[in-house]
């Protein structure tokens, strides 16, 4: 098992089994959900793990550089903790099963699906949500590219794509068109904004180079 630092959902991530690979092996085939499953959330507790719960426990999460406190049951996901008690609603709950990417956040610099991680396990990591990653809304190269290329319609999947795009360009600042497609393939959109998304991320990468 690898730690979250070694996993993530970019193409090129070494660890884990990709869903697409899994589907190919099992002969299911079809639509792309090219995501590396996050094997196990943090295993910081190790052999001497404390038993937590079943009631709510106080936790502290480092979100966008701030220590935020909440009291949640140990079974509560990072996503629901962010969206509820911490009122960071940029990450959306869509499939709630690690498929669609609408809840994507960064954990220690890697993109993860916040619906697949327990809040208690996210303690001690550095969490960045879309709000923190786009703090300067007016001067953010990716935000401006998304707007310019109309890479959004209803907008419910868009924050997840934004974080995925940030993660992609962080890992691969000069992606090819195919690498952009692959880098966005862990996220799904229903309105059908991929045409604008592909252009926006490519353009942002080019501007970032300049």
């Amino acid at each position: 098992m690898s730690s979250p630092k070694e996993t993530g959902k970019h193409p090129g991530a070494e660890a884990g089994v990709s869903r697409r690979g899994f589907l190919e092996v099992t002969g299911v085939g079809g639509a792309v959900v090219g995501t590396v499953v996050l094997d196990q959330p943090a295993q910081a507790q190790g052999a001497g793990a404390r038993a937590l719960g079943p009631g709510a426990v106080p936790i502290t999460l480092n979100v966008n550089g701030k220590a935020l406190k909440a009291t949640v049951e140990p079974r509560m996901t990072l996503l629901d903790t962010l969206r509820g008690p911490l009122d960071h609603t940029g990450a959306k709950r869509v499939c709630d099963r690690g498929t669609c990417g609408a809840c994507t956040v960064m954990m220690d610099g890697k993109s993860v699906y916040a619906c697949t991680i327990l809040a208690i396990d996210a303690q001690g990591t550095k969490i960045e949500t879309v709000e923190g990653l786009t703090a300067d809304l007016k001067n953010d190269v990716l935000i401006n590219a998304f707007v310019e290329h109309d890479a959004e319609q209803c907008g419910y999947c868009t924050p997840g794509f934004m974080v995925a795009a940030k993660a992609l360009l962080k890992e691969n600042p000069r992606p090819t068109f195919a690498e952009v497609e692959a880098g966005l393939s862990g996220n799904l959109c229903r309105c059908g904004t991929y045409v604008g998304l592909r252009k926006a991320v490519l353009e942002a990468a080019q501007k970032g180079r300049a």
């Binding site: 639509a31 079974r75 868009t158 996220n187």
Partner: protein
């Protein structure tokens, strides 16, 4: 009588321009707040118990353990004992609690007993539907028997499309507070102005006591017009919890089971043509289902409606599944598929290029010139003439390439809409309208219209929508919004401006108010910008009272501002792996006529999005229901498959923006481009592999089965 006509194309400052959507940064940065993002003080969460059975009688329900479960504030029985459940996912009870986890725990403690009853969920074989099939009665036109015997060519085929679910990314639901005599709803609806009346009827509360607010909605596609039973029980839970707000949004599985679907359509079709390829005969036996109420009659033959001899039979098949709802261009994508695939098969039987067959038969449409022009344009975009080869003749090794055609039509005239324009003495301008922006760009295009009309920049307008306190405007469905709200905004802004001119004219050497114009932030005598004043100075002439005018789009008299009726053609190019059956979309082209386009940028996004929906529907997406248990097997987003960014190929969109189309006025665009792509991709696959794959989605299994002569 004021003149409201759109300015000439050359004289528009903002209408028709590629303006970026105004809420783009807010959405992309996760700052836009949806109904599901609302966290009012002292918020409670709701969870529901649903039926695991497709058909069953509820024999007992015991809520007592749930009521005493930790954190629970209210429990409601949604269905009573004795109720016969008709589909899986039927909501039986709802719980509100301090946390969502506590609400879910309480739901698990509800004890229900059922008498399980036989169910029917199979809709793909009319012969086996028995009493669940309800015939619509035969429709005959001309003399189909004579046409059949005299036809030089006939082609028979079976074609089918399964049920799709809307799969809105923001599930159906709302956050509601019923405190005292007032209900506040943060909705996820396509019909903000109608919501209060609809919810009020359920709760027996006057609509005037219900406030509805919505800045954004995470997808609707036709499935979010009602307040729904969850609007009502969520409000009741709030009331029973002492007026604390309650949030309820469906889990993905229930969302896919009960919150709307696009009905299936199947048809056995016979088409006949004379020696020149002119179609003389259409015979179809069709059936469809969107749940217990069956399915609608598809409008077939689609677009080629003037086929002289027709015989049509249809059966609505009732099944024990969640009910259908409107889905972008209801019944049109299916009808287009059934018709265009049958025509493509006829062309193959004749050994004719289908493009030629479609062109030959344009005279059977009501827009002959438009379809002929668009077929030729689309063919050029996709390089049809040099690329097209007969069925199964573009094979290289294990890869086969193919081209296909689909067509569309739609209405799209503006709906009933009212808007208020208010010009304040300090020069600020407000436009208020009880419409909603589904992500189509409504906010942006209304601002363009108002600013262009008043000669102001986009920033000069404060647009206020998404609240039932504003003047009523229709629900966003059927591509009716852009025509409706643009027209009401134009009328309101024009009338307001004329009142301003009346106040200003005396200061300009007593010019006639009708001789003034407003452009570039100034009000002046027409053609003489120096004889005038800035917008702010002009507005100071108002004294203390703002100008406030309401404009209305009356669909019976849209004053030339909007109209309906469009044509469109889509063509696709695919590559098929003959060994694995995997289909890859290489390229898809849409040519669409569309009247006056207020914002080409957001309009093109609509077209791309619609084409991508067709990629989903043709290659990936279908509801799978287990025959034995009656349960949906893929009620998630892992196996209810949508296309991803790498699956869509190259996309080309040509909106036919020209003086002639522009002069028709505004026409809605949400529906038409969702139609035609399924047929284009289906026909391209038939062209590639040499045989028809009857059913979409064109999964590897279906492709391989077709190649091997098996039914699947």
């Amino acid at each position: 009588m004021a003149e409201y006509a759109w300015p000439k194309m050359s004289e528009r400052s903002l209408i028709g321009k590629r303006i970026s959507r105004l809420d783009g940064a807010q959405k992309a940065g996760g700052r836009a707040k949806y109904g599901s993002d609302q966290n009012p003080q002292r918020l409670l969460y709701a969870a529901i118990l649903t039926s695991p059975h497709a058909r069953a009688k509820l024999t007992s329900i015991d809520l007592s353990a749930a009521k005493s479960s930790p954190g629970v504030t209210a429990v409601i029985a949604v269905e009573e004992v004795g109720k016969e459940v008709q589909w899986e996912g039927t909501i039986l009870a709802a719980v509100a609690a301090e946390t969502e986890l506590q609400a879910r725990d309480a739901v698990r403690k509800i004890r229900v007993e059922y008498q399980v009853l036989p169910h029917v969920v199979k809709d793909d074989d009319v012969a086996k539907a028995g009493n669940n099939a309800k015939p619509a009665g035969e429709q005959v036109q001309g003399d189909p028997d004579a046409a059949k015997s005299s036809a030089a060519f006939t082609s028979q085929g079976f074609y089918g499309l399964p049920v799709l679910t809307h799969c809105c990314l923001e599930p159906h639901g709302q956050t509601v507070q019923w405190s005292g005599n007032e209900i506040t709803v943060w909705s996820s609806t396509q019909a903000v102005s109608n919501y209060a009346g609809d919810l009020g009827a359920q709760l027996e509360v006057p609509a005037t006591s219900i406030k509805v607010h919505q800045d954004h909605i995470g997808g609707g596609f036709g499935s979010k017009f009602q307040s729904d039973q969850w609007g009502a029980f969520c409000a009741r839970l709030s009331k029973e919890s002492g007026g604390r707000p309650v949030k309820f949004f469906h889990d993905r599985n229930i969302e896919l089971m009960i919150a709307g679907n696009r009905p299936s359509h199947y048809a056995k079709v016979t088409v006949g043509a004379d020696a020149s390829g002119k179609i003389t005969l259409w015979e179809s036996e069709s059936w469809s289902s969107g749940g217990i109420g069956g399915g609608n009659i598809p409008p077939i033959p689609y677009v080629f409606t003037k086929i002289p001899n027709q015989r049509k039979n249809h059966n609505a098949i009732s099944t024990n599944n969640g009910g259908q709802r409107a889905w972008r261009a209801p019944n049109h994508p299916q009808a287009s598929y059934l018709t265009c695939c049958a025509m493509d098969d006829l062309a193959a039987k004749m050994g004719k290029d289908p493009l030629e067959l479609f062109l030959t038969n344009c005279e059977l449409t009501t827009r002959e010139d438009a379809y002929r022009r668009q077929l030729n344009k689309a063919a050029k975009h996709i390089d049809w003439t040099s690329k097209w080869k007969g069925r199964g003749k573009s094979r290289q090794g294990y890869l086969a390439k193919g081209l296909g055609i689909g067509v569309n039509t739609w209405g799209g005239a503006g709906h009933e809409s009212t808007a208020t324009a208010r010009i304040h003495p300090d020069g600020t301008v407000e436009i208020e309208c009880g419409t909603q922006d589904l992500g189509t760009g409504t906010r942006t295009i209304m601002t363009q219209v108002a600013a262009d009309t008043l000669g102001l920049p986009m920033e000069g307008i404060r647009l206020k929508i998404g609240d039932n306190a504003y003047p009523a405007s229709g629900g966003s469905g059927g591509s009716t919004t852009v025509g409706g709200v643009s027209s009401s905004t134009r009328i309101a802004a024009t009338d307001a401006l004329n009142l301003l001119f009346e106040k200003v004219a005396p200061s300009l050497d007593n010019a006639a108010p009708g001789d003034l114009e407003a452009k570039n932030g100034r009000v002046y005598v027409k053609g003489n910008p120096s004889k005038g004043m800035s917008w702010a100075e002009a507005c100071k002439k108002l004294g203390v009272a703002p100008i406030e005018v309401q404009g209305r789009n009356n669909p019976r008299n849209p004053r030339g501002l909007n109209t309906g009726g469009v044509a469109g053609v889509q063509m696709a190019e695919v590559t098929v792996d003959m060994e694995t059956g995997v289909v890859v979309l290489d390229k898809i082209v849409a040519v669409q006529d569309i009247g006056l386009v207020v914002n080409p940028k957001t309009a093109e996004s609509q077209v791309y999005g619609a084409m991508i929906m067709n990629v989903c529907g043709s290659l990936y997406e279908e509801r799978v229901v287990d025959q034995i248990t009656g349960r949906m097997l893929n009620a998630d987003m892992e196996f209810y498959k949508l296309a991803g960014a790498p699956d869509i190929g190259e996309m080309i969109c040509e909106l036919e923006v020209d003086e002639e189309n522009d002069s028709r006025g505004i026409i809605g665009l949400g529906e038409p481009p969702t139609v035609g792509g399924l047929a284009a991709i289906g026909n391209a696959v038939a062209n590639a592999i040499g045989v028809r794959v009857p059913m979409v989605p064109l999964t590897p299994r279906r492709v391989l089965d077709a190649l091997n002569g098996r039914n699947s």
